[in-house]
Subunit: 567 residues, 2 copies
């Protein structure tokens, strides 16, 4: 798994490099951030020729290690202006692993405006004209791509909003069954891909034999121990049953469930959108519905789901906590069918549901529609489908929507809308939002399951620091964060699997160090891009407006927060 494919879009030239022997442990986010930090001018125009878009597989890519095939995508973010890595499940990284590809780098800008597809097989890498895909929605495009390139491909692609360079656009990746619904949603990387004129990467691993495993026996043993551990783990069992939606009750009770544009932390209709309700609706409706679905080859947690309509026909897969809160409670919408419909429309347009939930809630605060108006929210999605100016505003994300509409309360850091945890009630996440190299992002340092009093300012910096290092470590390995619990008593497994696959001795310490170096490298990029310690803050209202359901403001001392990267 040592191929690095570079696509120079100005000339159309494609060339390949081999990962140097001393860089064999640098994969996933470690690799996207290294390439971006080394090769992209931090102050560049985000849509200019010097920005790059990097797709990188993780260290377990191509194997069936549970939760081990996430795809990392990185560049300078059109949304935040910071360095960015966004990762997702699905089957793209698995096929990259089979093809022996560690990274694909899109460089430069095409000399003339056009749409292309990058088609990768065992033997060839080609740019294919794709103007007939212009403005085509994500699901229709995926079907057409399969007609054109075969059924067994993996796809990483953008929708119409990415082509329009709308900054809330993500990159959709196919799941095990070919649904283009595993999103690298955050940071507007879909807009960056659109600026490069690339509609899709298409990966065909037919006859590919990778990855070459250096110690099959060792891998088999550790992998099997990991799978057993996951299946025995009670907390992970709840993920299997309720998916991430199990979090609704947790945050609602903490007063941390974003409600009506972060004006409250509990939602009176929470029971209509929680994990129990989701499980009940999916199982009662049957049909295409599936409460427990694996997004990646080999995953035994299966926290994903397939949400059907009343007739049992699939609406969206998966329906997850962040979307349920941002497009649900945060918009005052307590109806899973409407949330599922909004989610599907985001997926089909190519949009991040978190920033779009933020945008709709901010538009509600501006009076465009009322809080709780689900039908109105669906009409807003139609505005984007029709590419109206209101649609353009919304698709540019929550911050720009708020700026254009003159809204004061915009729950965002560094241009990116917060995830579904009110930082006044889960203060460790407030620290993560403030300091993450990625802008407000829960996956950058998730503290909600960590042993800390979430309403207290005490210990939150240390908690966020640990979470940021551990989460970044998983991003660098290419593992799903949810599997972390299974390693609690077996941290050595993480390195042992690397050793087994790559033949290079790797310890947990090594992986932690790669994570820390990655964070510091990202932070240095941001510093050169103009960010400073004084940007590491929440919007003022979180310090001054009490969250009525947690009874708290954000009050973690700033001088402590400033030390978070002292490691």
């Amino acid at each position: 798994m040592s191929r690095v494919i570079r696509v120079q879009l100005e000339t159309g030239k494609i060339y390949e490099e081999t990962v140097p022997a001393d860089q064999i442990l640098i994969a996933g986010r470690a690799l996207t951030s290294k390439l971006v930090a080394e090769e992209v001018e931090p102050t560049c125009d985000v849509f200019g020729p010097s920005n790059k878009l990097v797709f990188a597989a993780g260290l377990y890519a191509g194997t069936t290690v549970s939760c081990g095939n996430r795809i990392s995508i990185g560049g300078k973010s059109p949304l935040t202006g910071t360095i960015k890595e966004s990762n997702a499940g699905g089957n793209v990284a698995h096929k990259m692993g089979k093809l022996g590809i560690r990274a694909i780098v899109l460089e430069g800008l095409p000399a003339e405006e056009k749409l292309q597809i990058l088609h990768v097989t065992k033997d060839t890498v080609k740019l294919v004209p794709a103007d007939d895909y212009k403005e085509m929605p994500v699901f229709q495009s995926a079907d057409k791509l399969r007609q054109q390139f075969g059924e067994k491909i993996a796809i990483s692609m953008i929708g119409p909003t990415g082509e329009r360079k709308s900054a809330a656009s993500g990159i959709a990746n196919t799941d095990n069954e070919g649904r283009p619904a595993r999103y690298c949603g955050r940071g507007g990387l879909g807009a960056l891909m659109g600026s490069k004129g690339i509609k899709a990467l298409v990966l065909d691993d037919n006859q590919a034999t990778g990855p070459e495993i250096k110690n099959q026996e060792m891998l088999k043993n550790v992998r099997s121990s990991l799978s057993k551990e996951i299946l025995q783990n009670e907390a992970l069992g709840r993920f299997t049953k309720y998916g991430t939606a199990g979090m609704v009750d947790v945050t609602n009770n903490l007063g941390a469930l974003p409600t009506k544009n972060f004006s409250r932390g509990s939602f009176d209709l929470a029971e209509q959108i929680n994990g129990n309700k989701l499980h009940e609706v999916i199982t009662q409706r049957g049909g295409d519905g599936n409460p427990s679905h694996a997004c990646m080859p080999g995953c035994v947690i299966r926290c994903s789901n397939v949400f059907p309509n009343a007739s049992g026909k699939e609406v969206v897969a998966p329906l997850e906590y962040e979307t349920i809160s941002l497009m649900g409670s945060n918009c005052g919408i307590g109806n899973l069918d409407i949330i599922a419909e909004l989610n599907y429309r985001c997926n089909n347009l190519g949009l991040d549901t978190i920033d779009m939930g933020g945008a709709i809630a901010v538009a509600m605060e501006a009076g465009v529609i009322e809080f709780g108006d689900g039908e109105g929210a669906i009409k807003l999605m139609e505005e984007i489908e029709q590419n109206t100016y209101l649609g353009r505003i919304l698709a540019s994300g929550g911050v720009r929507t708020g700026q254009v509409l003159g809204v004061r309360r915009i729950p965002a850091v560094k241009g990116q809308i917060m995830a579904a945890y009110d930082p006044r009630a889960v203060k460790g996440l407030g620290v993560t939002y403030s300091t993450s190299t990625m802008g407000a992002d829960h996956t950058a340092g998730q503290t909600v399951r960590m042993p800390v009093e979430h309403h207290s300012p005490e210990g939150q910096v240390e908690t966020s620091r640990k979470a940021q290092i551990t989460n970044t470590m998983h991003d660098c390995i290419g593992t799903c964060l949810f599997v972390n619990g299974a390693f609690a008593n077996h941290q050595e497994w993480l390195g042992e699997m690397v050793t087994a696959i790559h033949g290079e001795t790797c310890t947990y310490e090594d992986l932690q160090n790669i994570s820390k170096q990655t964070l510091l490298l990202e932070r240095e990029f941001n510093r050169k891009a103009g960010f400073s310690d004084n940007d590491d803050r929440l919007p003022e209202f979180f310090y001054t407006e009490e969250n009525p359901d947690s009874g708290t403001v954000f009050d973690v001392p700033e001088d402590e927060i400033r030390k978070i990267f002292d490691f």
Copy 2:
């Protein structure tokens, strides 16, 4: 002139302070920036309760010193996030001087949404309900205000876009004849005024006797010498004849006239919009037209003008160089009648013509309308009048318009569109745009008339430094920058007039020091707000895309630029 009026909008309480004796030289921009730096949290929500809007008169306010009655308005900018001061001519500062008022400070937010007017007379300062002015255009509002408060008032006010908190909104000030057309345009301070719910300050100096002049004889002598010097000054004579539009030929010849969204530096229709043409059209049409008009009491330069339509009826006053370029050449529009119409509509809506010219050109680059489509540009202004979503996008300024529409080339620094000098062809202004505490702004350090080879990178940092210090000094005194030439051989006059008026010995050195301290204070505010040296840059394309008409890129060495504030 020692009254400072503070209006606490949450409670409606108004209280007064007296300028301390040791602060008597701190006026104009020195005072707005001092109050903002000391009292506003640099990271505050711009539309939140802790931002403040400060109106400050200069050191000569209330006298008839030529060019000496500019009004400074400051706060944390809704457009740039930096500290902001924007100043204008007109009669507002003169009436403040007559009323003995040095500053008016709007603080906090009203408890409920409403529109009010601050009415100031010799004896009273009152908040007056103004919901009947809601969404009323600027000129109609001014007429209604005169009906309500009398003919002789001075007004500082916002239009509909300021009420909507659109970030390209400025604050209009009445001129000598009561036209609300002298704009503190830049930085979105109109949106900040809108967030405070204040439609207008109304100043009535009936029976006011200020300012108390400490040495009438001395003032009379220096003032009279200054007026003579101005009248004998050949360069200033050209201002009198051609207004600022005389600059069109200068920049067109330098390749520095922004053309079609800063893609060129010369415009093939320049002769249709230059100073000769403007003078010719105004004089030939007659009627209301006036090629040489004074915007402030006492001004003998009279660079302003009144532009009539073909029937001789006034369209706009004044029509100035920055607007002629940004809404003309930069949009490919070579027609003074259309530019005048666009200018009037901006004035009536409450918008900065520079940022709006930038926004229209960026929209043209996005394909909303074609470059050169003057009728289309007028329709875009109608979109704002009708408050459509396209109108909202445009009124939020050039940068946000570009972001929402997915445009790569946005000619701005720190969120603010550049003025009418291509920084590749007038490189001193490139240094000013990059480093100004206010974002891209020509008045922050105008180098075009300074003795330097504009196409060369040599000496530009020193040139911009001198210009920034001198321009800021005039902003602190409250004098028009154009009068600077008249002080070339008589710098001592600037301080002598202060001594004559205030009885406090003041030298040119003192004024230069106040300027330098103000710049450093502003820079420190910005640093606390999250800005760093790495933000002191032009957009990437100015370094990489050659301006075909100057044959240059921007290439002033960054290490030199970083030393500009070492004084």
